[in-house]
Assembly symmetry: C2
Homo-oligomer: 259 residues x 2
DNA sequence: CGAACGGTTGAGAGAACTCAACTGAAGTGG
DNA sequence: CCACTTCAGTTGAGTTCTCTCAACCGTTCG
């Protein structure tokens, strides 16, 4: 695996509490209230900003790498993926977005988008001019706090991705991905034990720093272990009867790796 | 798109876009003004926020994982590393911070810190209560924009890390890391062809998702290829005579990997 | 002085990758 | 309606890159 940056400086105080989950973790909040909070936030955006609403369908792109930055977007419904392309042509899924998430934060600093935002399903997108948002934030502290929170969450999420990719073996990464996806659904009041991964094996692999074959093999192994099941029609519809069991399955490997 | 450190070091030279190992790159800021802009931003923070100043020394920790969130911090000088620890004990260097960078953004959403911020050198840290910052932002649009920009940059940086870790082979990752570090120095008006990596091999490896042995081997290989050199006294003082050559060295592999 | 630490290097092992064949489903066009 | 193609996914075999384990060196520090 990888080196633990052994005791980088200082002995510990208490470091278990929040942070909760391994790898691609879950919001430490209760699903019941988290969903309400998302709805609340959307209501605030709606009333304060009066965003331009738009419905897009799977495959539609709301902004592209290289485009000038002008608007931020909020997902009122649907699923998006963010795909970044490096100068030398490497592609990378760098983010997944769900209801209540903002899109476009990455573009503020450069004043241009550095990734494509692609809908994975029919979705309703709300858009606001960034300048309007700035003005509104100055007038409405609650809105400003909300925006900061959203950016902060994105930073945390990215770090969790980094940790997962750089410290977990392949199967644990896939499980962490499933966990992340399921939690994102659960928090929004959607079924988390049965849902559609809206990504191909290749995209999942890309997101996790694995090849599509490895992803496929891991999923097959999990099916054989009866920890997940697929709809025979569409191999993207997954069923996860017992998340604890799934976690326990990879927990062992992780623990072994640590000692 | 990207700039080599050598060029950034002399602000007047014109930029090539050398498609660099885009992995761990720098913000596409204009080299001519980037350093000035950092100074400007610090001045704005100073005048508008009147931050509490403090000097810390190598190894000091300004916040710890689990601590309640109250302040944000700005680096007026020095170098920091951010170390995240997952629930199951995996450690991960999730960020490196330089003069002008903010620390603590990740804590806004959860209202608690999820990583340790450790000084890698003597540093001057400016601190402001988050609530004060919010108020000041409402009153000073320029400040608010600056904060957003800083958070946006952090998001971009994290994505570049993700891409590097998940798409580049070991040697390219190490080179990308050197590139990132050199650029960060160059942008701040510091020598980029000769500097101290302030991290152990283990920490570099951890940051890049590699083992310390792999990092050591890659560096040795680069030394053998005369692309870098070390101060024999301290093996952390690196010298990079020609960044183009270094980039070209791994470019081949990357290209081959793509086809 | 010996212990601890950071770093280097070698040999062998193993996890993930590459290449390749195969399946089933979906779409195209004659 | 049926070849034909294309695409997503699965699986196997062999390869390779990185990791693991281990020995070793030079510094620093108690």
């Amino acid at each position: 695996m990888q080196t633990t940056a052994a005791q980088l400086a200082t002995p510990t105080t208490k470091r278990h509490d929040i942070a909760a989950v391994a790898g691609l973790g879950m919001p430490a909040a209760l699903p019941t209230s988290a969903g309400q909070r998302i709805a609340e936030r959307l209501r605030l955006i709606e009333t304060v900003l009066g965003p331009k609403r738009r419905v897009v369908k799977a495959g539609d792109v709301i902004y592209r790498s290289g485009e000038a930055f002008s608007h931020l977007h909020v997902l009122n419904s649907g699923f998006f993926k963010l795909i970044s392309v490096s100068a030398d042509g490497r592609e990378q899924v760098v983010g997944l977005k769900f209801r209540g998430d903002w899109l476009g934060f990455g573009a503020i600093a450069r004043n241009a988008h550095a990734c494509d935002a692609v809908a994975m399903d029919t979705a309703e997108v709300w858009s606001v001019r960034y300048e309007d948002l700035l003005r509104a934030c100055a007038a409405h502290p609650a809105l400003m706090e909300m925006v900061h929170e959203a950016m902060s969450s994105e930073i945390m999420r990215d770090r969790e991705s980094i940790m997962a990719i750089s410290t977990l073996p392949a199967d644990a990464r896939v499980v962490a991905f499933l966990h992340y996806w399921a939690d994102s659904l659960a928090v929004r009041g959607l079924r988390a034990d049965q849902f559609s991964l809206r990504l191909s094996r290749a995209e999942i692999g890309n997101y996790l720093g694995l090849t599509l074959e490895t992803v496929s093999r891991v999923l097959s192994k999990l099916v054989r272990a009866r920890l997940i099941a697929f709809n025979q029609r569409s191999r993207r519809d997954i069923c996860i009867p017992d998340f604890h069991a799934l976690e326990a399955f990879v927990q062992r490997r992780t623990a072994r790796d640590l000692h």
